[in-house]
Amino acid sequence: MSALDTPPVTTLDLDEQGLRAVNRTLQEAPDGARFAVTSPGGRHAIAAGLRSAIEVDVHGHAGYYCAGMNQAATVRVHGNVGVGVAENMMSGRVEVHGTAGQSAGATAHGGLLVVEGDAAARCGISLKGADIVVKGSVGHATGFMAQVGRIVIFGDAGPALGDSIYETRIYVRGAASDLGADCVAKEMRDEHRAELAALLAAAGAPDADPGDFRRYGSARTLYHWQAP
């Protein structure tokens, strides 16, 4: 697509239009539309419930549930985000060019969440198929009860990493000194290095070396209920 084909960017100012009007515009936009959202002011649920292949740049800090339940859209936040960024995302891409609060990417089924900074506790909790790449460190209980999908952590993992994890694969480059119940270090085989390399490239870090990461996953000892 040449520069002439690129649709113009429509600016939506949250102070001027309010959240409902801005979200309605984004939710009803056709594929290919581009938006700049200004004056986020830490509001909650900015760009939640998007369902077409649009591009949204949020200029500033967002509150809870930014890009919640995203479908198909690309949302870039140029600032920090609060709890539950891209929670239950189904598809598309969400980038946080800052740090993320708790439960980033919680229960997300698909798509890619990239956090350039750190992510707080419970990142990727109950993950259901999405991919999450955190270029900083993550807080406690990251990957708690995570079911499917991949979580990549460049920095350190907080306590109880992968507690009660199912089939999600977690890759950590920094320290992961405290693993949660049923979470264990696993062998990095060629297929894991290959999928990690693809994830790193998708997250804009093609130069990171998959060989520097370790893999964690479920020991599957909790898969069948038994008396404690």
């Binding site: 959240l19 409902r20 979200n23 309605r24 939710q27 909650h44 649920a45 939640a48 419930g49 369902r51 509150g63 809870y64 549930y65 919640g68 339940m69 479908q71 709890v83 539950g84 929670e87 239950n88 189904m90 708790q102 439960s103 919680a106 229960t107 089924h109 419970r122 909790i125 109950s126 259901k128 198929g129 708690f144 009860m145 079911q147 499917v148 009660s164 199912y166 089939e167 909790l222 898969y223 069948h224 209920w225 038994q226 008396a227």
Partner: protein
């Protein structure tokens, strides 16, 4: 030969079972022990000072509108009895379809459960409430937008503070796929929501759900009865359109016996504090509706819950029985499972001979959704007609006109919990302005 009251037959058997297996008991159904309940209340029919309505002839309204506070499309029901949330997974697809069809036949709603919305259920249900649960199994924004209301489940009466279990024998390939988990493993449903903690966060979560659904549909908050006054007040503060209050007799598909019988409070005890909270906030029968569940079996129960302040009730165990659960016709098959009609509660095992709490294709095929729907609709009709019968006897032209003043209690405990007089007295235990010897 004197049996012990402390170590009764069930207690002895349970100790023996524990000693033998080293594992705690899990079962379905709800609390089985006797607790103060609606049976401990009676209505005072009209007499010299009250004017009754004519039997089945004079109009007695039963309609209810849920979600009048914020939703642009409140849920309008023809009867004040709804079907509670039960998952596809815990129940067969045929059972879910039958519940949806049955509810639609009488103009009321049914509810999804911890496992997502099936296309059959959506198709069969004119009014479908979509549960939003801690596990978020099968949760997706398309189904959310297809729902007629959203019910955020904080807790369940059978197990306030507990998550869920679905044992591997019920995890068919379809159930596993809907939940994004491997087939055949024992699944644990989370007990805490993954992305909010506490009422302040819940307010933000509700606002997000409204943004995603365009402020169209009502949002309920369901709590298990434990601290109903505070839970109701906090749910209202968080922005709920409807509070669903589930007492300890409410059913479950699979929970530890010790949890079912020992955590939470009876439905009867939970209603007055919840109504207090709504009244103090100025929203009772004025913006926020109260739906009560947990041990509702008859139209008398419906009428009593409404008289105490509920706008509607939900039923779960009763509709499963209507579908054929615990039927005497299955006596031989229950015997083969080591149980008997009226006692079967191994809903977690997936071997239900009635085809309801199973994912076994052969067993499921025994349940005809069309026949099941007719039976469910019949039960819902009877409950409604019974509630109308009582309302008319009390002189009410709408079931919502029933009030605590129409009730008395048979026991001191029930009088104290329901805050109505002990029958034959004007004494409401705990209310110092009443006394046992006052006028009737």
């Amino acid at each position: 030969m004197r049996p012990s009251a402390t170590f009764d037959t069930h207690t002895i058997a349970e100790i023996q079972r524990a000693a033998e297996t080293g594992i705690y008991a899990i079962r379905g159904f709800g609390a089985k022990r006797a607790v103060p309940h609606f049976d401990d209340l009676l209505f005072l029919g009209a007499s010299m000072s009250r004017y009754p309505l004519e039997g089945y002839r004079e109009a007695c309204g039963t309609d209810v509108v849920l979600g009048t506070r914020y939703a642009q499309r409140p849920l309008r029901l023809d009867i004040p009895v709804t079907i509670a949330g039960m998952s596809f997974g815990a129940l067969s697809a045929n059972a879910k379809e039958a519940l949806g069809r049955g509810a639609s036949m009488v103009g009321t709603s049914t509810t999804t459960g911890d496992g997502g919305m099936t296309p059959e259920e959506r198709e069969a249900s004119d009014r479908l409430v979509y549960q939003y649960l801690p596990s978020r199994y099968g949760m997706n924004p398309d189904d959310l937008r297809r729902a007629d209301a959203i019910e955020i489940v904080v807790g369940q009466g059978a197990k306030p503070g507990g998550g869920g279990m679905l044992l591997g024998q019920k995890i068919s390939a379809r159930v596993a796929e809907m939940r994004d988990l491997p087939a055949g493993i024992d699944q644990r449903s989370a007990c805490r929501h993954p992305d909010w903690t506490g009422p302040d966060d819940l307010e933000i979560k509700i606002a997000e759900l409204r943004e995603i659904t365009g402020w169209q549909v009502p949002i309920y908050v369901k709590v298990g009865a434990s601290r109903p006054y505070y839970d109701t007040a906090l749910a209202v503060k968080a922005g709920a359109d409807v509070v669903v209050l589930d007492g300890m007799q409410g059913g479950t598909a699979a929970t530890q016996e010790v949890f079912i019988e020992h955590v939470g409070i009876p439905t009867l005890a939970a209603i007055p504090p919840a109504v207090d909270a709504l009244q103090e906030l100025g929203v009772h029968r004025n913006g926020v509706q109260l739906v009560v569940s947990g041990g509702i079996r008859t139209g008398a129960d419906v009428a009593k819950a409404i008289a105490l302040g509920a706008d509607a009730v939900s039923i779960g165990v009763a509709v499963l029985i209507a579908l054929g659960d615990n039927s005497p016709a299955l006596a031989d098959e229950y015997a083969a499972l080591g149980t008997a009609p009226g006692r079967y509660d191994a809903w977690h095992e997936g071997r239900d001979p009635a085809g309801i709490s199973t994912q076994d294709p052969e067993l499921e095929a025994r349940l005809d959704p069309e026949l099941g729907a007719r039976r469910v609709a019949n039960l819902l009709r009877v409950l409604t007609m019974e509630a109308q019968t009582i309302a008319r006897a009390c002189g009410k032209s709408h079931v919502h006109n029933l009030e605590p003043e129409d009730l008395v209690a048979l026991t001191v405990e029930a009088a104290a919990m329901a805050r109505v007089p002990l029958a034959g007295t004007s004494w409401v235990p705990g209310n110092p302005s009443t006394s046992p010897g006052g006028p009737q």
